[in-house]
Amino acid sequence: MKRSMKFLLPLAVFLGIAVFLYRGLSIDPHAIPSPLIDKPLPPFELPLLNQPDKTLSNRDLLGKVYLLNVWATWCISCRAEHPTLVALARSQQVDLYGIDWKDDDAAATVWLNQLGDPFQAVMVDKKGRTAIDLGVYGAPETFLVDKKGVVRKKYAGALTPSLLNDEILPLVRQLRTES
């Protein structure tokens, strides 16, 4: 570096630090990259909320693009997210399956009766064992699964209409064209 430019060095260092710090502002430390992305959805077979004698497994869902939403009635963000899910179900743009995580069945039924049931089916994960396999660390979490049963995206936290319209639904349409 030329001697005449040397006085700019502290400014360059400052700008470098500023860029990293600024980026740090928009990083959510709770958004942990999922190791499941582009891997098959871990196998599960869970009883249904409204028909406890019947089960649904990940194999039953092969061949379609769907969203798998992990929720619970004790989860406050799930309540905030719920109207978005109901609106999504009404628009019939993608199938939505739910896993009720470590929850009270009766409370979950009341919740769906009162707030609307956006799910094709709700599975019950009483002990949270499937949630561990899915790497769930907080509700709500939503997985976008393709026709081959591969997890393509995972969203931790509540889905929003803009996230759905700008990112998820376009991706769903694209995944549907895959064989």
Binding site: P29, I32, P33, P35, L36, P42, K102, I132, G135, Y137
Partner: protein
């Protein structure tokens, strides 16, 4: 209302369990279990280890890990199980791989850069030419040196 409070209280007491509740056949399994919990992060309250956290998920994971260790799985098996589900993030000590080179070698890199800069500054200082003195300056310097010499002798 009171019933709800009592229920919440009993639930929180239930969650606040200690590691003493986990009994193993061998001391080695006990040690493995403690060590594993100590080196894994609770994903809900990220600054707590699985051993220390009272989060519901941490309790579930402690039970899961207990079953695995008790059934004879090795430490590496359990670590692989956790990383496959929660990613490297669950480990306090990240594994060595290209994406973590900066974490592992960054401090050494900074040290090397510092050492090189320091060495260059020092070398430049020693290689500065001796200041040239005019004849007049030299005489003055000698006079000053002699006067201090005589000062020290006289004292």
């Amino acid at each position: 209302m009171l019933a709800t409070l009592l229920l919440a209280l009993s639930l929180s007491l239930h969650a606040a369990t200690t590691l003493e509740q986990f009994k193993f056949d061998t001391q080695r399994q006990t040690d493995d279990f403690r060590e594993l919990l100590g080196q894994m992060r609770c994903l809900v309250c990220q600054n707590e280890s699985l051993a220390a956290s009272n989060a519901d998920l941490a309790q579930d994971l402690r039970e899961e890990l207990y079953e695995q260790v008790a059934s004879g799985k090795s430490k590496q098996d359990v670590i692989d199980f956790m990383v496959a589900r929660y990613g490297d993030f669950v480990l306090y000590k990240p594994p060595l791989r290209p994406s973590t080179y900066l974490i592992w070698f960054g401090p050494i890199l900074l040290f090397v850069i510092g050492a090189v800069v320091l060495a260059r500054i020092l070398r430049r200082q020693t290689s500065l030419p001796e200041p040239t003195l005019s004849e007049e300056d030299r005489k003055r310097a000698e006079a000053l040196l002699e006067s201090t010499d005589s000062d020290t002798q006289s004292s």
